[in-house]
Every structure is written in C-alpha cells, then in structure tokens.
Amino acid sequence: MQTDRIKPIVMPKWGLSMSEGKITGWLKQPGSTVNVGDDLLEVETDKITNVVEAGDAGTLRRVLAEPGNVYPVKSLIAVLADPDVPDAEVDAFVAGFAVPKGDDEEGGEDAGPQYLFADTPAGTLRYAKRGDGGPTVLLVHGFGGDLDNWLFTIDALAEKATVYALDLPGHGQSTKAIADPSLAGLSAALLGFMDTVGIGSAHLVGHSMGGAVSMRTALDAPDRVDSLALIASAGLGREINQAYIQGFVAATGRRDLKPVLEQLFADTSLVSRQLVEDLLKYKRLDGVDGALRALSGALFANGEQASVLGGDVAAAGKPTLVVWGKEDRIIPAAHATALGSNARTEVIPNAGHMVQMEAAGTVNALLKEHIGRG
Amino acid sequence: MAPVVGIIANPVSARDIRRVVANAASLQITDRANIVLRVLAALRACGVTDVLMMPEKGGIRGHVERGVVRARAHGDTPYPAIHLVDMPVTGTVADTHRAAAAMRQAGVAAIVVLGGDGTHRAVVAHCGSIPIAGISTGTNNAFPEHREPTITGLATGLAVTGKVPAPVAFAANKRIDVCVNGGELREIALVDVALVTERYIGARALYRTENFRELFVTFADPEVIGMSAIAGLLEPVARDESGGLMVRLATPEQRQAGTCGTILHAPIAPGMITPVGVTDWRRMPAGVPFVPEIKAGSIALDGEREVSFSARDRVSLTLRDDAFRTVNVGGCMRFAAQNRLLAGAPAPLPATA
C-alpha cells in the first residue's frame, strides 16, 4: 500500500482538554484541489470555533464527516490523495485507518495529567509538556493569557520537538502574586521555571507580552535561549492599544469583557461565549486583578510600552522569527519590521493579535521551519 | 372565733446586687407562692380557718389563688379562707408597713413573714406586740431561721390556737433603735447596724468591707451570714441573752499599717468570705445609747444601706431587750411532740381557743 500517496485528514486536537469536535461546515467540496494552508472546514468545540487548514496538498477524495455531527479527536474525517490514486485504494485506506495512539509519554488520551505544576522560586507555575525528543521549545503567552493560547500550536510543534507551555506568574492557574512585575522579573520567573523543570536552553516562542519576556530572557541569559520566535510581540515599539489594556483589566462581566476581547481577533465571531466565560473565570480568581494591574502599570503605563528591546535583540544576533497578524488592533503590525534584516518577518493577512490561533496552520508551519533551522 | 393569722409575703426581696457580686440565691415568685400554700396548709391543719394577707402585684397572690381554686375544684379544702388587707399597692416597703399596721389593728394572732431581714424589720416596726413567724426568702438572712416553711406554719398554727401555751410558744427578741437628730428620724434593726463610709445608698447591699467602720449587733451568731457573723466569730452572743456586741473595724490605712488587731475571714454575704480588719469589740448593754465615731457615711440596717448622714447629723444607737415577739418554732414543735399534739387525731385538730 502506498499510503504516502494518501493523506488522512483527522479531527484536530486543539488544546489539552479537547476530546471531540463538531463539524460546522466544509469549505472545500469533494473532488476539489487543495493546497497547503487552504481552509478545509470549520470545527466547533466547547471553547472555540476555528477553521482547519490543509497541512498537505492533494485532491479531496473523500469527505467522511457530516456537518452537524460530533467526532472524536484524531478520527478520520476526510481523505486527500492525488487524482491518480485508484478509488479502491482510497477505500481500503479508509477501511484500514486506525486512530493513532497518543504519542505523549503519558501514553494515552486521558491517561495522564493534562497539566503539570512546578514549584519555582516565583511560585507554583502550571505548565504543559507535549512531545519528546528533538529541540526544546518553550511557549510564552501574553498579558492576561495562559498556556491555552497555544491551543492550536502545541500539538503541531510537538510532532518534532519537546514543547513546554507555561502560565506566567499572575496568569492561568499559576501563583497569582507577582514579586516583580517588570520584564526582568518575568524573565527571572521564566528562567526559574526552566531551572526547575530541567530545561537547559530552549527555543522561546513568545506572544505579545510573552515576546518581550522572551527577548528580555535572551538578553539576560543568552546561553539559555536557542532562538526567538516573536508573535505580535511587545517590546518592539512604543505603541499599544491602551483602551484594550485598560478595558481588559477593568472588565468584570461578560457584557464589558466581550467587546474588549473582540479586538484580539480579525474575525470577531471567534470570541465565543465560552471563551469569554473562561477569561471571566480567570479574572475572578483572587489575586488576578492585582496582578494585572501591577503588570499593566509596570509595562504599559500611560498608554505606551515601557520597554523597547528591538535594538538590543538585533544586536544580540539570535536567530529570530517575527510573525504578525496584519489586522492586529493591539500592537500595530508596523512593529514587525523593528528588527529589520536581523529577523525573518512574516505579516499574515486576515489575522489579528491572536494570529497563532486565527492562522494556526500558517504560523505553525513558520514555527516548525524556524525551529527546525535552529 | 378561731384566731386569724396574718401573712406578709414580700415579692421583691432577694433581687439585689449580691446576685452579681456574690452568686446569692434568688427565690422565684412561684416558689414564694408555693411557700405560702405550704404555710396555709399547715395552718389549716391546726384549725386556722381564716388568714389575712398583704396584697401585692408581684405575682404571689395570683399563683396562690390558682392553688386554692384548683384545690376547691378537686373537692378539697386544705386551705383557710384568704382575706386581703384593703390597701393600695405601691410596690415599695410602705406596703409592708401598712399591712403590718393593718393586721395589728385587725387583731391577728400572729404574722407569718416571707422575706429577708429587711422585710422582717419592716414588719416589726409596725406590728407592736403581735408575734411574727419568719420564713427566709431573702439574701442576707440572719434573722429568720432557715427551716421548711411547713414546720413554721404548723408551729404558728399550734401557737395561735393555744395548743402550745404562750410562754413556750413565743420568744422575746432584741432590736437596736437608731435615732438621728434627736428623733427627726427613727429606724430599727433586728440584727445589726453597720456604719460605712459610703455616703450614698446606691444599690443598698453591703459588700465592700473596706468601707465598714462600726458594727452593732443584737446577737452574734457564728452560724449565720452577714454582719452578725463578724461579731459571732469574735464573741458569740445568743438571741435570748441580754445585750449585744459592738465591733470597731479597721480602716484600709490601719490594715495596711498593720495596726488593727485581728484580720477576720468572715462570710459577709453568700459566697463572699472576706478579710475584715477588726480593731476591737465590746459588749453593748441594753438601754445605753451609743454614738458612732465616724462623722459621715451611711447607716446600714440588717445589711442594707438605708440612711446617709453627715457631720451635722447626730446619730445614736440603743439596744432594747424584749422588743418584739416571735413564734418559737423549735419550742412549739418539741412541745407538740412531748404532748403528742399531732398524734392520733383522725380529723383536723379542733380549735380550742
């Protein structure tokens, strides 16, 4: 069997808690030609609705999953193959398809803990670890975010790397107290985390404020940072959407938070009821309000970013990838060029500040390539 | 006509501050009323058919009436008929004064008193030669003897119906007359007069021994509580012997300087055993006026501050023997036993007087 000529399309696993997804609609019809990065279909989970992009090219030979129905993750929902592959061979592939076992060390879908906790000098930090072997990648979320911001990223990168994603202090399910709300303080917390879980050095992938933290880390501890991937990153210019920061900090209810969150996406319909509710649940936790106010005061006071690190990072000479969503309403995409020729820069159309979610396929491909080179 | 017995039951004795400072007992109204019912039953058993009671609004009367009505509904007549003194009720000691005087006028054969030393003093002040039978429902009771009221009722019944001859049935008692400014004010005490430095009446009860200065007692009994106990622990003087005792108490300065003769641990109130500095003491003969040494303060009669006086006031104290009569309960009951007064009679004893 020439299975390399036949490419399965499976129900994606977005985030550690996703076990099934509902097909809301196919964007390609059976028989149509598919290129890498094309929008294939829309899947809805209890967290988010998103488009599944093609990771391979070919002809859409079979569509097995019907809109409106729910399928487990990694189950076969469609088949891509070249036009010359016989129908019988495609049918045999479908008949013989087995849902692959989970490839993480926990050895199974629900066998192990989805999240881990590390007692670090900066407090207890929650993290996730996926994949084994290959380069080590550390994903650093932004202001008010958490490791689930890497919902569409972590498993994709884990195919060829050991990927960690953490909740910074004050975020997610980590300790809410932030001893030092500066970039240096967050960077120290990051390094403390790497020490605790035994990461010598890693490719740092930072989103927004996490990008600035990653840059600070690369400057403070260059031997711990193999490369930088900066996604809609802070630290590359002064401007920042102050209304967003203030609105996010101040919001206490669904009705005031939702319009704030809509600024994060080019497609505002991605802000689902559940996404809003999850963020509210986070914001209600004791200590979060204080942490966010401390951070916004230290990093984004008076409507601008306190630290611009572009020049220093350019001078440091680490391999650097800069990715931006063209429709970013939080930090202008113009900052993407701040490192000039010292970085590879990609600005992705039809995506906002949460570009790693809105254009996950594209961003994942860029990250894989960037890490692979490093 | 059968003898009539008076009953004065004070509804408000034993309500003072000694419940807070000394854990003193407090007899509830229903218990007081039950005592009255027990006394009534005893009197009836001896042939007393009518009693004259002091009216009050403290609740005793209502409870007693319920007891009588219930007995009647049951078909029994264990109680004498109850008559009330026709008088207004003020809720003050004036009621007791008025009732005692009215009973004396009505010619009752004896008055059963329910109360403390203060109530007994109020009755004695107005009852003249009518004998009283005391039942303790107060706090600092040195005067009325502690005894089951049924026995007091029986003794009174036997005494007033003449079954026990008067010389056995009644006993003579002493008192101290207090005279201020040559008769402007006259008070009496049955057991003790204490002169204290506090010049306000306040909550009345005596419990701050550091303010005690002089003490005069009609009898000094180491078995009772209060001022009489201080004297009784120094030199007992019986109720039936002539004269009393006068005790001078140390000032705090004298106690501090160690110049007082004796420190006595005396039960001055229920649960209060307090060191009292005693300078000296001597007999107080009957009929001899005593003038206290302290110039200003309060006069406490039978344990309660009653009168305050200043340097301008002239105070004198005189003990009187044979000042009033009481029913000798022990004597009556011993006589009754010796003469089998309560033996063999199938029906209530016939009245003989």
Binding site: - | V12, S26, Q28, I29, R199, R204, S308
Partner: protein
C-alpha cells in the same frame, strides 16, 4: 474641700448630671415643640427615666454597644450621640444623625456604639447579643447592652436572646426599664411571671432589681454587672424600676393613668432632683455649679432647635441613596 463619699469623682458627677439634665431638657423641649406642631412624626419621651441611661452609660466606652428602644433619645444622649444631629434628625433634616431618613425612632451612631433606637419592640436584644458576640470573638473586652421596656420583655426575641446569651456566655446585659406601662397596658397585667429576675433565673442569668430613679443605685449595680460581663462572667439582667413623666408617645392623653399619678412622681421620684439634693447635701457639688450646667444645657437645646429648624431638608435624590453599598 469636703471628702467625696460617692463612687464617682466630681468631674464624673458633673458629667452624669449634665447627661441627665440634657436628656430632660431635650425631651421637655420636644414636648413643647410637638404640641406646637413643629415636629413631624411620633416621639416617645424618656423624661423621668434619665438615671437609668446615665447610670449605665457612665460605665461604657465607644466599643461597648447598646441597642435601644423606641424611647431612645436618652440612651443616645448618654451614649454620646451629638445633640444637634439628634434634634435635626427629629426635625427630618439632612443634617440629622441619619440624614433625615430615620427619625426619632431610628437614631443611631455606630461610631459611638449606639446601634440604634428601634421601632420594633424587643428587636434590640438579639442585636445586642451580636454586639456581645463580636466583642467576645475579638476579645476587646466590650459589652453589648440591650434596653427593653417592661412591655417588650414579653417578646420572643427578647426571651430567646436571654437563652442565647446564656448558652454562648456572652458579655451581654439586658436592661429592663420598667416604667410600669407597656404603651397603655399595665405591666402588672401583661407580664405573666411578675418578676423580671425570675425570667433571668429561668435562663440561668443573675438578675438585679434597682430603684431606677436613684442614679447611684443604677450606677453601682450596672457597674458590677458590666464588670462581671467584661471579666467573662457572662450575661445578666438589670431591672430599673422607674417612672415615665409623659405618655407613651406625644399626644397620648394618658387616660389609663391614675389621677394625680404624674404629679406625684414628678414631686417625689424625679431622679434629677434626687441626684442634685444628694450631691449638694454632701457638699461635693454646689447648687451654683448645677445651675450653671442647667443654663448651658438650655442654651445647647435652644441652639440645637434653632439649627435644626434652619437646616436644609433632604434633597429629593436622597430618596434613593443608601439602600445598598452598591447595586
């Protein structure tokens, strides 16, 4: 100087007199102004009962709390509530103790430990238990005192509170101000077990009855009861037998009272007169000193009335404020 035979020093004697005199003048003035129609609503006057409020409150600090009754002016003044604010409140002015929202029956000042007059009879008793509980939990030595009239002592809330205070051994004190009348109904008729001390005994509390027209009797008994409570000895009940100079409320014709009763008690049982005679007779305070206080108090009340009458009325927007901390 004459030796002071009283348990209070001269300053405190003068203070006690000033409190009682202030209450008396406050109430007498309300009596007059009410008759003139100057005052909206009901007022229940405390005149005649001053020795109870003063004799008890002289022992208290701001962290001691009292829960008062509908007849609360005297308690307020004795507990240190500002007389100007009280008068303005009774006049329904925005400068009142409750900004014109409470009136006579709801004057409160928590900062002074005054938890409020109360239009619901007997309701203060559980609240005072709460104050006592708070003091006990914090261990600050404070006490909670509930004032209740002879009538309201029949309320279940009051009787339940006696039990709760005993069970929890709270530093709670229940003061029964027995003026003989539950509104118009005689105490003698309305209270089944005729002794409040028996009620206390029924719940295991010691009880003390004092002559409530004798400041020194109240002062001394309250002092011992409060000390006992502060020392962990638990709750107690104090019955003050006293007299009411006026009706249940102003406008009450008092046809239920005996002829000459009020005149008699004013003549013989006026607690302020009795106090004044004692302290003057003892040579501790001069009549002139008391008269000087009388004058100052009269001026104070006059000024309070003048200020109240000229104070602004609450703004219409006040109708909707102070319902919730945020809503």
């Amino acid at each position: 100087m004459t030796e002071n035979p009283f348990p209070l020093d001269r300053d405190d004697l003068l203070k006690a007199y000033r409190i009682m005199r202030t209450i008396r003048e406050f109430e007498e003035r309300l009596h007059i102004d009410f008759a003139k129609g100057d005052i909206p609503g009901f007022v229940h006057l405390y005149a005649g009962e001053e020795a109870s409020a003063a004799g008890i409150m002289m022992h208290l600090k701001d962290n001691d709390r009292i829960a008062s009754t509908h007849r609360g002016h005297g308690h307020c003044i004795a507990k240190g509530v500002d007389v100007h604010e009280m008068m303005a409140e009774i006049y329904g002015r925005s400068t009142g103790a409750c900004r014109g929202k409470g009136g006579s029956m709801h004057i409160a000042d928590l900062s002074k430990g005054m938890m409020g007059a109360n239009g619901i009879l007997g309701a203060g008793a559980p609240l005072a238990c709460g104050a006592a509980l708070a003091a006990k939990v914090r261990g600050d030595g404070g006490v909670g005192i509930s004032f209740v009239g002879d009538g309201a002592s029949n309320q279940g809330m009051f009787l339940e509170s006696l039990n709760l205070a005993a069970v929890w051994n709270l530093p709670a004190i229940f003061v029964v101000e027995n003026n003989g009348y539950a509104e118009s109904t005689a105490r003698d008729w309305a209270v089944a077990v005729d002794s409040y001390i028996d009620r206390a005994s029924g719940f295991g509390l010691p009880g003390v009855t004092v002559d409530g027209t004798d400041f020194f009797a109240v002062y001394e008994a309250a002092g011992e009861i409060i000390r006992r409570a502060r020392e962990g000895g638990g709750p107690a009940l104090l019955e003050c037998n006293m007299v009411r100079f006026y009706g249940h409320f102003e406008g009450d014709a008092q046809t239920y009272r005996a002829k000459g009763e009020v005149e008699a008690i004013r003549a013989s049982r006026d607690c302020i007169k009795i106090f004044a005679e004692r302290v003057i007779e003892a040579g501790v305070i001069s009549r002139a000193e008391l008269e000087a206080i009388d004058k100052e108090v009269l001026d104070l009340i006059e000024d309070a009335v003048r200020a109240a009458k000229s104070a602004p009325l609450p703004a219409p927007a006040e109708l909707l404020t102070d319902v919730y901390v945020a809503y």
